[in-house]
Assembly symmetry: C2
Homo-oligomer: 307 residues x 2
């Protein structure tokens, strides 16, 4: 089933302990869209400037991503400059140039509007809502955000939470959004606000799923080759909703599998700069790593009356 | 099978957002010993002063803990004073009075020396080694430590690591001990130093097991009622080795079950001050929560050739 992925498209400059790179392909919609494209047809919504390199457009097309909804407007593409220190857990922003993103007025092509699956990647929540309003009858809405919107557009973000089937936060954001230090209590508060499911992304510590009747804990991949964490959360989300769009399911068991698929995609994403790892990724590597995730968490039941 | 638990016995003063308590029963050997006592006979090794309340001795006896190895010497019992802020993830020490612990010269009673299972709870690593030297033929040695010994007794601690079947660190300690920020790489470095297995305790994020051929990720319990985290790591370790001593096993499957049992015991330990939650704990609550842990991580395999 076709999936709308809306968010930022960026050119990134970044430095990690493993090297420096300039003008890398990035942005929340790109990491999520490419990740999702392994599972389902993707319809991208975003904006770039006239400087956006042809080769990146070609790469998106090669991934069979529909770019009718990718506007090219006068000016420069959104640009993020940042670095990671040796522990790699925290991105440090040097500079954010919104450029054309500041004038983004999303208008979905006709061919997008009947899509049932929608991923609202990190973006101004007012834009997320404007995009969602243009989808006739969404079946599954997944939304992501970041600390900036929590601090500056809380009301619009709360509306996004209310309208999402799966709301994504990282652990710090969930605490900041709810003003509750306990993650479990924070997640329940987000459910109370109207999200049907909440996923708390914990980076190197995996991810937690909460819904009314369910708690699921996904492990992280024991990552020795962590080269560039940029886009990890977006590729997680792309794998998650890409898988759900593929199988058309919203059963609990589908959701759990989707979270593991998301974790698998994120684990590949961080093994090289930008999208370079996903460029080379094969389907059999995905299914193999999925099985590894199962082995990481499997343990036997206790015998009856054991203690 | 009888199990030696050696470590500190303490009287704690602490403050959490849920209240203040003075002269609480605490210490690494007490939290670990009481937790282990749900599974196997425990032989305690430690030292207290003449001020150690009779009621605490009675409680240990009631848990069928052998206290022949608990020395009472002239002076005051080891005393820790600390507090937790609202996020509860970090203990802040106000004062540590070693008192009689500074003169502790552990000498195992004859009846202890043939024990096969040994838990060296957090204690000066030189004392840990002196205790281990008195055990004739240990079958399974589990050891824990803390940042103070990493900073001040590195050589002795490295010897403990070499001689341990299962070495425990929390995530911060593992990074500090190995000077490696990546936890996976840090764990492998500890294995290279001679530990047969390493467990990285991550508090609210669960625990990771590493050995030469195995990686296992244990989830944490989604804890809403976190009242007092003191002793969480010790009750984890006590449940872990208590279970292994009970089943006599060292198979991979036993080890994984033991880590979940440890996680279950820690999850109960933190639900009230001091040992108060374990005082009331019943075996059926342990097995019930164990099953909950399984449900938190279970997910289905992907169908063949799915992607």
């Amino acid at each position: 089933m076709p999936l709308i992925v809306a968010g930022s498209v960026a050119l990134d400059d970044l430095a990690t302990p493993f090297g420096e790179r300039k003008n890398l392909l990035g942005g929340s919609a790109v990491h999520a869209g490419v990740s999702a494209s392994f599972f389902t047809p993707v319809k991208l919504v975003g904006v770039v400037g006239e400087d956006f390199p042809r080769e990146h457009v070609d790469f998106l097309k090669q991934r069979k991503i529909d770019i009718e909804g990718l506007k090219v407007i006068k000016g420069k593409t959104f640009h993020w400059e940042g670095y990671y220190e040796y522990d790699m857990n925290q991105a440090h922003t040097v500079k954010t140039d919104l450029n054309v993103l500041s004038q983004f007025d999303p208008e979905l092509p006709e061919s997008y509007r009947k899509s049932k699956y929608v991923f609202l990647a990190n973006l101004d929540p007012e834009l997320q809502l404007r995009i969602l309003d243009q989808v006739a009858a969404p079946k599954l809405v997944v939304a992501d955000t970041m600390n900036y919107w929590i601090e500056n557009k809380k009301d619009a973000l709360e509306e996004v939470v209310r309208r999402s089937d799966i709301m994504l936060f990282n652990d710090t954001e969930a605490r900041e959004f709810t003003k509750v230090p306990n993650l479990i209590v924070a997640a329940k508060k987000i459910l109370d606000m109207g999200a049907k499911n909440v996923i708390i992304k914990k980076g190197e510590h995996g991810a937690l799923l909460f819904s009314k009747d369910l708690h699921f804990s996904a492990p992280s991949f024991p990552q020795e080759d962590l080269i560039d964490p940029t886009g990890a959360g977006d590729s997680f989300a792309g794998g998650l909703i890409g898988y759900l769009a593929k199988c058309g399911g919203t059963r609990t068991e589908d959701l759990k599998k989707a979270i593991i698929i998301g974790s698998v995609m994120a684990s590949f994403n961080v093994e090289d700069f930008s999208l370079d790892s996903l460029r080379k990724l094969r389907n059999d590597q995905i299914t193999k790593r999925y099985s590894m995730f199962r082995r990481f968490v499997e343990f036997e039941e206790l015998p009856d009356n054991y203690i």
